[in-house]
């Protein structure tokens, strides 16, 4: 009887704790938005963060994009060949990249490259009292540290996703056209006929913006909320990667259901 009550109490405590954390996270997110004006007035702060979130993620994004596109080219060719429609390779590669793989894979890479870095950095700044020091210098850490990182990462994410897709399509082109010898004209023209700017490309960009906001908000909150110890920061970093990966995939399903249901 007692153990039953205890486990019920355990569930209750977890639920209450979870809801409470959600509330704190929401308030934190609203605070970031409220304090954003100041960071836009001092844009060089955001530029710094675009550098660390975007430029430093370039290599992994470009290389992964190229390889994903090349694999798509190979696998797609093998499958399409059985139906005698190799010319549709461009369509297959570009639609899978622009709609799904570009935004999703780029966001997953971004979460593990830039998101974890953001969490670790903010967590360590908190653990070493840098945030408290800032507060004592009458500088709001949310405005000075958190908001610029938020906007830097949110601006970087769609650009990275677009580069990922573009690299992937080039990779598919390299394998399909240059290596295997699919007709170049058919590759591009079928692609252009099938890919719609608004329906496919803009929706893909919109996805990556949503993922960028989600990943960055999670990373910042985990860092800001991390217990100020070495163990706390390392756990928060792991949680950032896990939570934001799940968030990306879950959001992707919801967004896809809304965007492409008509097809």
């Amino acid at each position: 009887m007692n153990s039953l009550l205890d486990s019920l109490r355990g569930i209750g405590a977890r639920v209450i704790d979870g809801i409470w954390r959600m509330g704190v996270a929401t308030r934190f997110f609203l605070m970031i938005l409220l304090q954003s004006g100041q960071s836009f007035r001092r844009f060089h702060l955001i530029i710094r963060e675009i550098y660390s979130a975007g430029v430093l993620s370039l290599i992994i994004i470009l290389v992964s994009g190229l390889f994903v596109g090349m694999v798509l080219g190979l696998q797609g060719y093998e499958t399409l060949q059985t139906y005698g429609s190799e010319e549709a390779l461009g369509v297959l590669v570009s639609l899978s990249l622009v709609r799904e793989l570009g935004p999703v894979v780029a966001a997953l890479l971004f979460a593990s490259r830039a998101g974890s870095a953001i969490t670790a950095e903010i967590g360590l700044m908190k653990a070493t009292e840098q945030l408290a020091a800032m507060e004592m210098m009458a500088v709001d850490p949310v405005a000075r540290v958190v908001a610029p990182r938020f906007w830097g990462a949110v601006i970087s994410m769609p650009l990275l996703a677009a580069m990922f897709s573009a690299m992937g399509i080039l990779g598919g082109y390299l394998v399909g056209v240059v290596l295997i010898g699919v007709d170049e004209g058919a590759f591009w023209s079928q692609m252009q006929a099938a890919v719609d700017f608004r329906e496919d490309i803009l929706n893909g960009v919109l996805k990556s913006v949503v993922f960028g906001v989600a990943v960055t908000a999670i990373a910042l909150f985990e860092g800001y909320d991390a217990p100020p110890t070495a163990e706390g920061v390392s756990r928060a970093t792991t949680r950032t990667v896990v939570t934001s990966s799940l968030a990306i995939l879950g959001l992707d399903f919801i967004l896809t259901a809304f965007m492409f249901r008509g097809v």
Binding site: A133, M136, M137
Partner: protein, 266 residues
């Protein structure tokens, strides 16, 4: 009364239901170095955070420069903090900025001074702590004592009227410890500021401070000038000043009688 930069009357503070500080009476005059001492976990850091405005008193009056901290909104608190400097335990330098940029940080955040003037001011502050030559180093290249001196330069960048020190001597070798102690004294005298030092390093403190408050179990257990304390025969002060193991502050954590716990008693 206006001679006192800090006025604390009848102050209590509780974390939830746990009373951490009660009935604190404390004042610090301009130009004084005041030490808050006591055993670890006795509430002295809480007291420092109250003075810095990071916490609000549960009851009582806490005035800094005539302003009541209990009723300040965020904006006025930030206004007041521009006249405070704080030295954190391990310096809390911004690890992504160089020594120069660290000291320049409060100037850049709060003033519109041209870059040449900021440069001159920063070099002046760094010179005061003897680290002008290290302006281009990164915090990771500094020793603990040097980092604390840079943090001190940063704390005085805006020429505050109050400087708070949280354990400035913790983890320093004897030479750096003496250097830091002298620096606190000298800066207080030359800048005419008030310094509040939270520490448990009794010997260094008695050498350089003007007045000492002992905080124990949330109350002020003793106070006085270093001379008075050295001569004091109050058991608590005596134990603390001479570093004795047992006394009013027991060696043992409160526990049932030893014999009882080992079931020796019938």
């Amino acid at each position: 009364m206006s001679d006192n930069l800090i006025e604390i009357r009848d102050l209590s503070f509780a974390y939830g239901k746990r009373l951490v500080l009660k009935d604190i009476e404390l004042s610090a005059r301009r130009g004084q170095v005041v030490a808050i001492m006591g055993i670890s976990g006795g509430g002295k850091t809480t007291l420092l955070r109250l003075i810095g405005g990071a916490l609000r008193p549960t009851s009582g009056v806490l005035k800094v420069d005539g302003v009541d901290m209990g009723s300040l909104d965020r904006e006025s608190l930030y206004q007041l903090r521009r006249r405070m400097g704080m030295l954190f335990q391990f310096g809390a330098l911004f690890t992504d900025l160089s020594v120069f940029d660290n000291v320049a940080f409060p100037l850049r955040e709060h003033t519109d001074l041209p870059e040449e003037m900021i440069r001159d001011l920063v070099l002046m502050k760094l010179n005061a702590v003897g680290l002008r030559g290290g302006a281009d180093l990164m915090p990771s290249e500094l020793s603990g004592g040097m980092a604390r001196r840079v943090a001190l330069a940063r704390a005085i960048a805006l020429e505050p009227s109050l400087i708070l020190y949280d354990e400035p001597f913790a983890g320093l070798d004897p030479i750096s410890l003496g250097v830091t102690g002298n620096l606190i004294r000298r800066l207080t005298d030359t800048l005419g500021v008030t310094s509040i030092v939270v520490t448990h390093d009794i010997q260094e403190s008695l050498r350089m401070v003007d007045y000492v408050y002992f905080v124990s179990d949330g109350v002020i257990a003793a106070q006085g000038t270093p001379e008075q304390l050295k001569a004091s025969d109050e058991p608590f002060v005596h134990q603390f000043v001479h570093g004795e193991e047992d006394g009013p502050v027991p060696f043992h954590y409160p526990a049932p009688s030893y014999a009882e716990e080992l079931e020796l008693a019938a």
